[in-house]
Symmetry: C2
C-alpha cells in the first residue's frame, strides 16, 4: 500500500510554506476555527495528532491544557520545522506514517487529525487503530477534504462560471465512484482518495464509534462581504469534519 | 407551519399512480431494495410507517412478521387506496400529518419512513417524537431525497450534457444554503426542504440517536448496462438512507 510523503518534495514543501504564510487562506478562515469549535476540553488530556505537520496544532493543544501531546507525521522535513518552531516538553514528535499506527502503543483521551486522512488509502485501518488507542469515552476528531471536493474528476472544469467569471455552480461527476483520485496542488500527482459520505461515516459506526457531530463549514455573510471569492464554499464546501466517541457504555 | 398535502391534488395523484405503475423506475430499482436491505428483523415487532401512502410497505412489513403496523399519512386519497388494496387486521391506517406526531401515543420497535421527510419543515420535531415513541434499542430507518438533489436551485440546468446529450456532470449550487426549495414534479410548487448532510445527521445525534448506517445507493454495473440512463446516479445519487438506533445503554 503506497504511503505518500509529498511534504518531503522540495517544490511542494516551499510552495506549501508560502501558502500557509498568507494571512488569509481557507485554513485560517474555516478549517482551524471549525476544528477549535469542535475540540473537547483538553485540560489534563493525552492527545494524539495524526499528520501533525509543523506542529502548530500540537502547541495549541498544550496551550489548551493537554498534559501530553504526541504528534506523528510521515514527513521528516515537516517534523524538523515542528521541532524547531513548536517544541515543548509536553510534546513528542514521531516520524511515522499513519498507516503504521498499529505499532504505536499507549492510551489517549483525544485523537485529532487535520486535513490528512484523504491522503491515506487504508482509512479503515486508521479507524481501527484509533479506536484501540482511545480510552473509554475518548474522542476522535478529524477534518478531511469534503467528498464533494475529492470526487472532482479533473477532466473538464471544476466550476461553471457566468460571463463575469463568477462561479455559478460546481461540476460534480462520479461522486459514487470511490477511487484514488490524484490532484494537482503545486506539484502533479498528489495521491488522494475519494470516499463517499457513507463510507466516511459507516467505517466509524461499523468499528464501534458513536457519531457526535459533523460539520461542513461555510463562510458567514460578513466574511463573504469582505472576501466575495469565498461565496463558492456555499456551492461546495471544502472541508468535512467528523467528531466521534468511543462509547462502549451508556451516554 | 405549512403542512403539505400534495397527494390529494388530483393531477399529482393520477400522475404519481402512473409513475409507480411503470415496471422500471428509481423506486423499484434502488429505493425499495435499499430500504429492505437496511430493515432489521421485523418478526414480532411493532412498526410505525411515517408517510405510508398507499400502504404497500405496510403490507410488506406484515409479510416480514411484524406483529402490528401503524401507517400514518396526510393524504386521504392515498389512505383510501391503502385501505382498499393493502388492508390487513394487523395494520391500522391513520390520517395524520407527520407534524402532528406529538399526539400519537404507544411504543414501537421500528419507525420507518420512505421518501417523505424532505417534505417536512420541522425535521427536529419529527426526530424528537420518533425518539419518544421508540422503545430502548429501537430503530429509526428512513430515506429522503439526497441533499445533492434537494439543493438543486432550479435556475439553469440541473445537468451539463455532452454533444450526444449524455449527462457529464451535475450542476451543484447553494448546497450550503438550507431552505425551502420547492420543486416541480407533475405539478408546480412541491414543497420541499433542503438540509445539508450535517443537519440530517446532527439532528439525530443531538437528540440521542446512534447512527448505525448510512446509504447512498447507486446502480450496479450490470444494471447500468441494462439501463444506461441510470449512470447519472453515479454523478449524483437520488436517495439518502439513514438507520439510527435509540441506544441509551451499551451496544
Amino acid at each position: 500500500m503506497a504511503k505518500q510523503n509529498i511534504f518531503d518534495n522540495e517544490t511542494f514543501f516551499s510552495e506549501y510554506q508560502k501558502l500557509r504564510e498568507r494571512e488569509v487562506n481557507a485554513n485560517n478562515l474555516f478549517e482551524i476555527p471549525t476544528l477549535f469549535s469542535l475540540l473537547p476540553d483538553l485540560k489534563g488530556k493525552r492527545v494524539l495528532d495524526l499528520g501533525c505537520g509543523s506542529g502548530e496544532r500540537c502547541m495549541d493543544y498544550v496551550k489548551r491544557g493537554a498534559s501530553k501531546v504526541t504528534g506523528i507525521d510521515i514527513s521528516e522535513k515537516m517534523l524538523a520545522v515542528a521541532k524547531s518552531e513548536n517544541s515543548d516538553e509536553k510534546i513528542t514528535y514521531l516520524n511515522m506514517p499513519m498507516e503504521d499506527l498499529g505499532s504505536l502503543e499507549g492510551e489517549y483521551d483525544v485523537v485529532i487529525s487535520s486535513l490528512a486522512l484523504h491522503y491515506v488509502e487504508d482509512y479503515p485501518g486508521v479507524v481501527k487503530n484509533v479506536y484501540r488507542l482511545l480510552c473509554e469515552g475518548g474522542i476522535f476528531l478529524f477534518s478531511q477534504e469534503h467528498p464533494l471536493s475529492t470526487c472532482y474528476s479533473g477532466n473538464g472544469d471544476r466550476w461553471t462560471r457566468d460571463e463575469n467569471g463568477m462561479k455559478i455552480h460546481a461540476n460534480i461527476a462520479d461522486y459514487c465512484v470511490e477511487r484514488r483520485n490524484d490532484s494537482t496542488w503545486f506539484v502533479e500527482g498528489i495521491q488522494r482518495y475519494h470516499r463517499m459520505f457513507k463510507t466516511v461515516i459507516n467505517t466509524l459506526a461499523d468499528n464501534g464509534f458513536r457519531i457526535v457531530k459533523i460539520d461542513e463549514p461555510y463562510p458567514t455573510e460578513e466574511l463573504v462581504k469582505k472576501y466575495p471569492e469565498y461565496y463558492d464554499l456555499y456551492h461546495k464546501p471544502d472541508f468535512l469534519f467528523v467528531k466521534a466517541a468511543k462509547n462502549t457504555v451508556a451516554v
